[in-house]
Amino acid sequence: MKRRDFFRKGATAAVAVGAIPLIATSCAGPDDMVYDRKNDKWYHLGTGKTGVNSRKKTNEYDVAVIGGGAAGICAAVAAARNGSKTVLIQDRSCLGGNASSEIRVHLNGVNNIKGKAERETGIIEELLLHNRFENEQEAFPVFDHVMYDFVVREPNLTLMLNTQAIEAIMDGDKIKSALCWQATTETMFTINAPVYIDCSGDGLLAATSGATYRTGREGKKEFNEKFAPDEPDGWQMGATLLMSSKDMGKPMKYSPPSYAVKYTHEGGHKRRKFAGFQDGIWWIEIGSDDDIIADAEKNRHTLMAYLHGVWDYIKNSGKFPEAENLALDWVGSLPGRRESRRFIGDYIVSEKDMTEHKHFDDAVAFGGWSLDEHNPGGILDIKERPSFFHYHFKEVYQFPFRSLYSKNVSNLMFAGRNVSQTHIALSSSRIMATCALQGQAVGTAATLCNKYNVLPREIYKKHIKELQEQLMRDDVFIPKQIANDPKDLAKKAITIFGATTSSGDAMNLINGISRDIYGEINHWKSDGLSAQIQVEWESPIEISSIEIKCDTNVKRNIMMRKDSKNDDLYGNSVPKEMLKALSFEARINGQWKSLGEITDNRTRLIKHKFDTVKTTAIKVKMTETYGAESVKLFEIRCYA
């Protein structure tokens, strides 16, 4: 019996009886670790019992998300909040992926378009704001716990750490189950779900499902890409190993470990700069032109050797007197990966889609990091520049939903660096906040799949508008898409006005565009505090929730940085523009009645629910921001 055949049958049995039968095979694999425990001779001194412990569990979910980086977190939270019983499976002991304390890459996004950010909103912004409240000290290990809190507080979401999805069990072209090995409990979980989302980067589950994928660089011809190599090859951008140092206030010695590689920087390309070396050097990086996943451990060792070699050069070459008092206070052991598998969807995003700003009817996310293709040789090829900045975007580009689900595995979606795109497109979209937007899109789509009992492709064909509307309601910005949710009763208002107005217009709050962009104002801004807006309907309506999008200054970055930069482009605290305190009133039979208040708001999207009222007008009174003298809003919605 072939192993895969067996799994298919085994899984069927598992669903029926709630357990996976034992198997016997001479092939080494995870199945052996789990199922073949007949030699386990546990004797429990307390109870006197002997026997084999249960190490097999089967769980059912509506949505299974694999990978707990920015994309996976946003996918899982989106699915859970929209009503799906969701599991998030993460193979490390902490969340965050490349942004976790294990790797410590800045959670960048559209950081800089002509001198200003065009920041991502939605779940990823909420997470970054949560970090600004809970982690003022900007500690990476604390950020791990902030992300943990962000996930486990969701009532519909189960988090499984130290758990790797290692094999898909197929039923035709669908993934029926995911076999997941939890190292800390020696347990093999069978996770059953109608929809799977692989946000793991490398995409092991997706690969084992038979989903088609490619690695390496497309040649110029295939997608008419200006920046692609003439001919296709196998090169993938490398993984980077980071470090950070601390000023000890006195001269600090350093001697490299036994495995360090002697580094001299001789012949190094002038773009291999040491600026900011105290917080790590991104070009301590190694790629591969073949199986980059198979090479991972070898490359990890080499990167550690180079990391210490470069630090030895900094400390002991005499060329960096400013490093005299510095000592390493954190060194990575887990390189942050940029590229490996790219799965194939119904659409493959390529360079020109980005540089020519192609309009997609199924746009669900955006990006704007430059086409930043790293030299695949990494530090093994220091004569070459470390990265090719092929193209700097002047405005954001759209990312389509069709690139986020598998072409041939019908219930599989992706978000992150493993989505359907070319190597050159990846060089921009790989940035974490961009991946996070893709995550929120597929998490939301997964819930729609369950709602209509359809597969992702059907979401594209029949429900894409609903997906886009839900994303925009949940504060995702989709470039050049105007929100027009038919359920939003604020759209039926006859007038909206502010008690004071210093810029914009209160009627902008229902124009469907939730940020100022393309040189157009889409906000209302008060003249000072306190501030008030009033929404007036001609006929009475019944509402039970008000949703507001306030300003958090999306033109300034808020992600945590090692250097705690705090200037016009990067902020290191809660945005002062954000609304803090507000209250709501409805006019009922001519009298203004309180609908409640929020005194400690922490999000751009402010949702306020109350018992249904029949009303002809509402007022929102705003009394405090986190420092700004006036309040700026971008949207108000009302729902029954």
Binding site: V105, H106, N108, N111, N112, I113, K114, G115, K116, T240, L242, R271, K273, A275, G276, D279, G280, I281, W282, W283, E285, G336, W369, D372, H374, R385, P386, S387, F388, F389, H392, R430, I431, I494, T495, F497, A499, T500, D527, Q534, E536, E538, S539, P540, R561, K562, D563, K565, D567, D568, L569, Y570, R587, N589, G590, Q591, T616
Partner: protein
């Protein structure tokens, strides 16, 4: 670093910056002021001398100041003194260099003619990208290809060719902030300070509204609330919404009688924006309006065209003039206005002590619209 207040023999560079001969100004006097300026490239305020050139009537017509061409922390830039000129509104006009001096770019390249022209365009652009960026960002311009995803490498600032002189972004940045930074407001204040009463009155009615703001700001500084100025101000603010904020800042400091007189005039003569501003001011004013004053205002209710005006006017009456027979009488006709206005009036009247005939009319309204109230 700002101590090069010397006498230079100035040469216009380039020649196109020369003041044209048909626009020759007659300078009568020059005042010198020592002021303190914050510049984003400097950690602490910088003490500078600014020169105010007056015409024969004592009206400031020009300002100038000598600044370094570039603030360069690494001491590798060549610093050239630059004289910057502004008009009396603090608007940048032109720059001049010392005779024989030339500006330099990155790697010691010299400015060429088109670079001087471009610099003039950059400094004249009050919305230049340099307005928003941070000094550190500009410092990284030569490192345009820096990657930043992995660690903390400085973000490369992306400037369009037309927004900067390539290779001289730091100099452009430094000079832009000298020309368009804090100095602008300082110049406005200096202009206001020396204006005579006659000149102040003229400033308030000047077509260029920049002078209005200088004038009203100066009147506030001088605590000059005489009717000769207040009347001019009322005449201007009813014409232009743009003037409302600074005008009300001034009006709210007037003596009580003058304040009420002025606000009533503006309410009567003004359009929607002016009426709203008056109502808001009355609602939150430190002065308590008398009943008769509010009653008189209500005689203007028929001139309130929008729902917002009616709504906040009635809010004002509800909080400061309950059960006024005059206000009630003036409100009744609005029951026949647009529906949302009439509904607002209906609910206002429901809370007032009204006569039986008025109650009857209200009941008729209710019967007609009971499903939409």
């Amino acid at each position: 670093m700002m101590h090069f207040i010397k006498t230079y023999s100035w040469l216009l560079v380039p020649i196109f910056l020369l003041v044209s001969s048909n626009n020759v100004k007659v300078f009568d006097k020059t005042n010198q002021y020592a002021i303190s300026i914050n510049h984003p490239a400097e950690k602490t305020p910088v003490n500078v001398l600014i020169y105010q050139v007056l015409d024969k009537n004592g009206l400031p017509i020009e300002y100038y100041m000598d600044v370094p061409s570039v603030i360069c922390l690494e001491k590798v830039c060549k610093v050239i003194p630059v004289r910057i000129f502004w008009n009396n509104l603090g608007e940048y006009q032109k720059y001049k260099l010392e005779k024989g001096a030339t500006l330099e770019k990155y790697k010691a390249d010299l400015f060429e003619t088109q670079d001087y022209i471009k610099l003039q365009n950059i400094l004249s652009d009050t919305n230049s990208p340099f307005k928003e960026v941070y000094y550190d960002e500009v410092l990284t311009v030569p490192k345009l290809e820096e990657d930043v995803d992995a660690v903390s490498g400085a973000t490369a600032l992306e400037l369009d060719e037309e927004d900067t002189v390539p290779g001289a972004a730091l100099g452009c940045y430094t000079l832009w902030h000298w020309a368009n930074g804090e100095i602008v407001q300082k110049i406005k204040n200096l202009t206001g300070k020396v204006l005579s009463e006659n000149q102040l009155a003229k400033a308030l009615i000047d077509k260029n509204r920049g002078y209005y703001f200088i004038g009203i700001n100066e009147l506030e500084n001088r605590k000059d609330f005489r009717s000769q100025f207040v009347n001019i101000i009322i005449g201007e603010v009813v014409k232009e919404e743009l003037l409302l904020k600074s005008t009300f800042n001034y009006l709210e400091k007037l003596p009580i009688e003058v304040y009420f007189k002025a606000t009533k005039k503006i309410f009567i003569k003004g359009e929607k924006a002016q009426k709203l501003a008056v109502i808001r001011s009355l609602q939150y004013s430190k002065y308590k309006p008398q009943k008769s004053y509010l009653d008189e205002l209500s005689n203007q209710m028929s001139s309130l065209k929008s729902f917002q005006e009616v709504s906040i006017f009635l809010d004002l009456m509800q909080s400061k003039n309950q059960n006024s027979k005059i206000v009630i009488k003036n409100s009744m006709p609005l029951l026949d206005a647009d529906f949302i206005i009439s509904r607002r009036v209906y609910w206002f009247l429901k809370g007032q002590e009204i006569s039986n005939p008025q109650k009857e009319k209200l009941q008729q309204f209710y019967q007609k619209y009971k499903n939409s109230l």
